[in-house]
Amino acid sequence: MSAPLARALKLALTGIETRYVTALYLHRVGLVGFVIATTVLAIDIAGNLDRVLAAAGPEAPAAGPARIALYLLLRLAYNAPAILPLATAVGIVWAEVSLARSHERTILANTGRSPLVSLVPALLVGLLVGAAQFAALDLLRPLSVEAQGQMGFRAYGPRLSGPDRQPRWVTLDRAILHARIGFADGEALLQDVTLYTLDSQLRLESIQRAAQARLADGGLDFENPQRWPDTGEAISPPVDPIWLRNIGIDPRFVTQSDLRHLARGGAGIQDFARYRAALQDRRAAPLRTAAMALLMATLCLVVLRPRGTAGSVLMLMGAGYGFHFVVQTLSILAESGVLAPGLGVWAVPAGVIAGCIAFNLWREARVARVLARHRKANASVGTV
């Protein structure tokens, strides 16, 4: 790397403006995050206080302030991944409004500073908050869901929230299972269980029925089963134990290690495309937040003026919300298998980042052309 380029890069990453604006962004993002989290938790507890106090999960502490505090902590961990990108967008706009109103942005622009360099704080904050969001998606939310289920605050599948009251139908590889699924000491226990296996043309091949069945050797072990045809041989399609322990739990809430296993697919794992999309969705979190931060910072640099109106701020908020809506919609479509994860999860954030960089390069080139024209005109005036 050439010395001027290295110096420019060092300045862009650690220069005074970068440090000052990054600190301002982080301060505002933190404040906005606090306000949003407080509002969300206040609305949550107001609507669910009766349910929280009446929760009868085995792990729930005694009803009282401690239980409410624990519930709020768990809900904070659950909601953090949704709050962080929103706080980033609003925090950056708030900081940029202050910079515009105090004429700091005008002064910076008049120093000839590249708009691309002015985007570095947004990129840094986006990646930092994105990393926090990834940690929240990866670790905090699954832990929160487990705890909420075990304490009876919310229902999240038979492992966390108690056995099925009604039998459920589950499609397996060339088989259909009808059973009440529950867990005893962490071990899956299927009750009133009937397994219908199907041949290669998906016609009924056999039936096996029992009062109880457990997981064994990658399949199901039926206790004293009734069978048709009664060949005396046990029938069991492959059932992945990690898939079964997460049955009824939304892929977004599955722990990271389980999700990685399920996203690989394989024998006994159903709907692996949903797990694959959910895993990709988590991995794309830092990129998504960075894209949101860059988009808001770029729009602020273009739209905000020292005597800006509330209308321009509303427009910026609308753009941020529009981005959030598009990203969420595509992510849901990817999880449902309508779109490939690459398109549904990665394409829009990557496109927005590339678009922001290209737009600012174009602006910089345009300013350079204007300056060059002025220099030329001044030089010719000088010659005359």
Binding site: I207, Q226, R227
Partner: protein, 380 residues
Amino acid sequence: MLSPPPLPRPYRRRLYRDMTGFLLALILGIEAIYLSDKVLTDLLFAMLDHGLGGSFLLRGIVLASPEILLLGLPLALVVTVFMVLLQRREAGDLLALAQAGLSPGTLARLGLMLGGLGFVVSLGIGGVLAPLANHELGRLRHEARFDVLESGQPGNRSVVRIEGATLVFHRRSEDEAAARLFLHVPDAAGETRIITARDSALHFESPGADGALFLSGAHISGFRSDTAARLERTLDANAAELVYRAPGLAIPAFAARGSRISALTLPELMTFPHPDDPAARKAVLRMVLSAVLALVAPPLALLAMGLTRGGLSLLAGPLAIGAILAGGFLVAPLAGALAGMSLRSGLFLAMAAGTVAALVLGAMIVGRGDSLFTPARFRL
């Protein structure tokens, strides 16, 4: 008694035009936020679960749009009146008009007139449009649940239960486009019939009648548990094409509009025998209290505009918006409390409280005097 002089007609026309534009933009914004949330948390999942197309989503969005207006309209009214008149005051318009005879009473009257208009519109939306749309949305979702029976193409949700029969749609692999059918029909005699088929479609020959399931590549088995607890096959047949009829093979009818309180309009709820039903009384009072919120919103906004001075300059507007929001959250519990008395008494109390609140706000606006007209160098 002298009535306050009206605003000059050309100015009034421009003011109303600006207010209408601002109000429509705000309502559009509120709808956009509400409907996008509704799409992301509800309608999009329903579309994907039931394997439906964009027309379901579009119809769902249209039908879901009136319900937020019960709170959205008062909210939009309070912001519109506050922002538009604050802009006019800061531009010096109101001060200039005051020299030509504009009095605080004129502004109070404007607030009350806009409130009255808001009351009527809110009652129209909450009392007629919202219940009808709510009913149609319910019907749309109900039909969506069973659409797979007629199309044979499931979405993410592959199990449908009707009248004890269970239909499971499944594929050999995730790449396979067409779904196969697994039909499980237990009968009262303890026998179970299991039908598998390559293709299926449910047809109805006449409305309200049981349907006929048209099956291709069907295989039918019947089973019975005998006394030795063995599974005994009682039926085994294949059919290239099969029309399967069974009692109860019909899409359950969606509850008639008259049987659901939430789907009844205000005039319907006011007629016998509904006023005797506490749930119906609560629904009526919710509609009326929401309209009362729209009645007090404009005078409240005008008062807030008059209070944007000194320590309250940044707080008055948000406080007025917060008051309307809080009022919106209180509508349901208040309606519940008033539903304990007779409909006539409850309505009288709600209307009287709303009218008194609007008049008191009007008097307070008049009491603000010059602060309604003099600019406060407030940056907008």
